[in-house]
């Protein structure tokens, strides 16, 4: 077994967006950084839709567009509310998104993470793959001083350990720093990569050049569970997936892969992926419990970033940007302490939390803290309403010799029958209150 005698300024656990952002930022500032990743290469264990939000990466690597593996910049967003045979859509497409520095891109995570990791190495960080961190090492006072891995005999020591280990977060959990995930606070997502010639992708979605379309779908596709489906265009492939809250899934008796296959077979989705060659099937958890499921994010000698800190804004489908931003802010806090020659103690690392509170990360997490509970207790919001909308649209659009006034009365009656006036108003109020 190899031994590493040196002592590091920081050890980073994990090479996803959070870990790479942290390791890059610290290495670039001249800190001695060791990053450990259990996969054969960075990205080999990671799954995302995936939409990359440029702003978060730009704040770390301003010229990332020059060589990052980007698929398409997003010019059109579709939100589909689905019943079994229809979708009611809200689409927004704008030429303004064809800009010099686009705001959102589709990416392929295994490739993107590899690229990001190459930047960490260029900045001087040491990256060791195929190395699983088994546990944290603490001194007699409980202060974290390093890690034990499955590859090195002795402990690897550092002034601070940045946990960027993703949703499962076993390292922190087993050190007693946070609890096991709750089945109602995580979603399981399954996803497939569908390959098609570039021209076919472009003609099916009315695209040219590097422009792309993303679709978020809810309603009947999640079979009464809290969940959403997605379909994103890449250069010559389409990512299709669906995710549901684990508690709902376990109770339902529905298999994740049949849920995915039924989503793919929906008449609104099937033609978009027809004839494609499927090259991969992936599964991954998403922390969706929101602000109220967040664990402690700092302590003596340690900080937690990204999914391990439960930093996902499920309303806006944002995770990687919160991961990168929390990784960057954790790194900046550590650099700041180093420069002041102050230790990474519990008190000093409170600065990380303070800075995160001042950023969009915790502001957004706080804003939507009631949403997971709302959906948990009001599944009709995701299931009844899409069906109702479809019913309304269909009777409105069918021309069948009925007078418009009696049609309106009919529609109104049907809606009241499905939810009742009180229910409708209550749902509206509940949503508004949770949203505020």
């Amino acid at each position: 077994m190899a031994t590493i005698e040196e002592r590091f300024d920081a050890i980073v656990v994990g090479a996803g967006p959070a870990g790479n952002a942290a390791a890059y930022t610290m290495a670039k500032a001249g800190l001695k950084v060791l990053q450990l990743e259990r996969g054969e290469y960075p990205g080999s264990k990671n799954v995302q839709g995936a939409i990359l939000y440029a702003d978060a990466l730009e704040k770390i690597i301003p010229d990332f567009r020059e060589d990052a593996p980007l698929e398409r910049h997003v010019i059109e967003q579709r939100i589909w509310m689905m019943d079994d045979t229809s979708h009611t859509g809200m689409h927004y497409r704008s030429e303004d998104f064809n800009e010099e520095k686009p705001n959102r891109y589709t990416i392929i995570r295994a490739q993107f993470d590899r690229w990001f990791s190459s930047k960490v190495r260029e900045a001087g960080g040491i990256v060791l793959c195929e190395t699983t961190v088994a546990e944290l090492v603490k001194d007699t006072k409980g202060h974290v001083i390093g890690v034990l891995t499955d590859r090195h005999g002795g402990p690897l020591l550092a002034d601070v350990v940045v946990m960027a280990e993703g949703v499962n977060g076993l390292v922190g959990q087993r050190a007693g720093l946070r609890d096991e995930l709750k089945p109602q606070a995580v979603a399981l997502a399954v996803k497939e990569m569908h390959f098609l010639p570039q021209e076919v992708v472009e003609s099916r979605f009315n695209l040219s050049g590097d422009a792309g379309v993303v679709i978020e779908a809810m309603g009947a596709v999640s079979k009464g569970m809290v969940g959403t489906g997605f379909l994103y265009t890449n250069r010559e492939s389409i990512s299709v997936g669906i995710g549901c809250i684990v508690e709902d899934l376990a109770k339902s008796g529905v298999t994740p892969y049949s849920l995915l296959d039924q989503f793919k077979a929906h008449p609104s989705i099937a033609p978009l992926i027809a004839g494609a060659e499927v090259k991969e099937y992936a599964a991954h958890l998403i922390p969706e419990g929101g602000f109220r499921s967040m664990p402690a994010i700092y302590g003596g000698g340690w900080v937690v970033t990204g999914d391990a800190a439960h930093l996902v804004n499920s309303v806006h489908r944002e995770g990687s940007n919160l991961a990168m931003t929390s990784g960057r802010i954790a790194a900046e806090t550590i650099i700041w302490l180093k420069r002041r020659r102050e230790p990474c103690s519990f008190d000093n690392l409170a600065e990380y939390r303070k800075r995160l509170e001042a950023s969009f990360v915790l502001k957004d997490m706080r804003k939507y803290q009631k949403i997971p509970g709302l959906l948990h207790n009001n599944r009709q919001l995701l299931n009844l309403y899409p069906r109702m909308l479809s019913g309304v649209a269909q009777s409105w659009l069918r021309v069948d010799g009925k007078a418009k006034r009696s049609k309106e009365t009919e529609i109104f009656k049907a809606v009241r029958k499905q939810r009742g006036l009180v229910g409708l108003v209550a749902d509206g109020l509940r949503l508004a209150r949770a949203w505020r």
């Binding site: 799954v47 793959c129 399981l188 599964a283």
Partner: protein, 97 residues
């Protein structure tokens, strides 16, 4: 498309794995009667690693495992699933993710 029609084996066949032969990273604790949580893994596992044997016990073959963690989360309260990451470099290897 029917639920039964889904062939999970075909989906997993696309994926790449480096199997750590003889060292399964997930184990089901010995039991006589599985809890409802443990039983639910027969359907909830996205790689269909869990099955019910003739004695009514739940078994796992973790070769197709994508290391998502769902089974560990579902059975956290009952402690019937012992879950670890595979050794560094082993397990699933996503080309795209």
């Amino acid at each position: 498309m029917s639920t039964q029609g889904t062939r999970i084996e075909e989906k997993l066949y696309q994926n790449r794995y480096v199997v750590d032969a003889g060292k399964p990273h997930i184990k089901v604790r010995d039991h006589d009667i599985p809890s409802p949580a443990l039983k639910s893994l027969v359907t909830a596992c996205p790689a269909s690693c869990y099955s019910l044997n003739e004695q009514g016990r739940v078994e796992i073959v973790a070769d197709g495992c994508m290391e998502c963690g769902t089974c560990r989360v579902v059975c956290a309260a009952t402690g019937e699933v012992e879950w670890n990451y595979p050794r560094g470099g082993y397990g699933v290897l996503f080309k795209f993710g």
